[in-house]
């Protein structure tokens, strides 16, 4: 590794497998909403010769869709994936921070359902604890 030339890229350099996959995702209130299971990249067409002047761009992070495929293989259809657009990402560090509240993404639908259908029916469950 030491005898090869080092390529310097402008901006923040990230290795997707190392810095993005399996990282926790926080919304703009630092509330965890999931973890990254996959990354969608636009600009690669399998089998076609690639354009050297048009590098692919990361379009979305795929959240919380990895458990069943890891156990049984395959992949859920794209419509069933929880996609967070790259444009919503505000910072990348030990966790990935988003610039929007978690309620803006479908990934938290199960929490909303539990809140509305279960917690809200418990006496005192409709207001903040005093």
């Amino acid at each position: 590794m030491a005898d090869l030339p080092k390529h310097d890229s402008p901006g923040q350099v990230l290795d997707l497998n190392l810095h993005i996959l399996d990282r926790q995702v926080l919304d703009n209130h630092d509330v965890p909403i999931g973890h990254v299971d996959n990354v969608e990249v636009d600009g690669i067409e399998p089998g076609r010769e690639l354009d050297p002047d048009a590098p692919p761009v990361v379009t979305s992070l795929v959240l919380n869709s990895g458990l069943w495929p890891r156990m049984f293989g395959g992949r859920p259809p794209r419509s069933r994936m929880h996609l967070v657009p790259w444009s919503a990402v505000s910072a990348i560090g030990t966790a990935i921070e988003l610039g929007q509240p978690g309620s803006a993404f479908d990934v938290t639908w199960s929490e909303h359902w539990i809140r509305d259908q279960v917690i809200a029916r418990i006496p005192g469950g409709r207001h903040v604890p005093e």
Binding site: L4, V13, D15, N17, V41, L50, V57
Partner: protein, 107 residues
Amino acid sequence: MFLSDVLRRPVVGPDGPLGFVADCRVAVDGTPGQLLANAQLVGLVVAPRNRQGFLGYERTSVSSPAPLAQWYERRQRGSFLVLWEDIESIDDVVRVRPGYTRWSSAL
């Protein structure tokens, strides 16, 4: 295409097999977005053996604990970066153009 479609794919050069895709390197320096700039693919990190890396020991300057660092660096020795312009096609295998350059995979 998803990242999982590219990782661990075999990489073939003009003279034969080179290894397997260990990672995809991007640079957050593209068109400025609402919060972060676009992340453009810089290239693919190729490892000669299809082994999973661990915490990027082979790509960073982290050297402790020394036994672990040496072990994982040795497992991934020989890995290198191939830039996007040197990649010809991505299908079941990743094909690299003739005359490609091997760059250090260090971050």
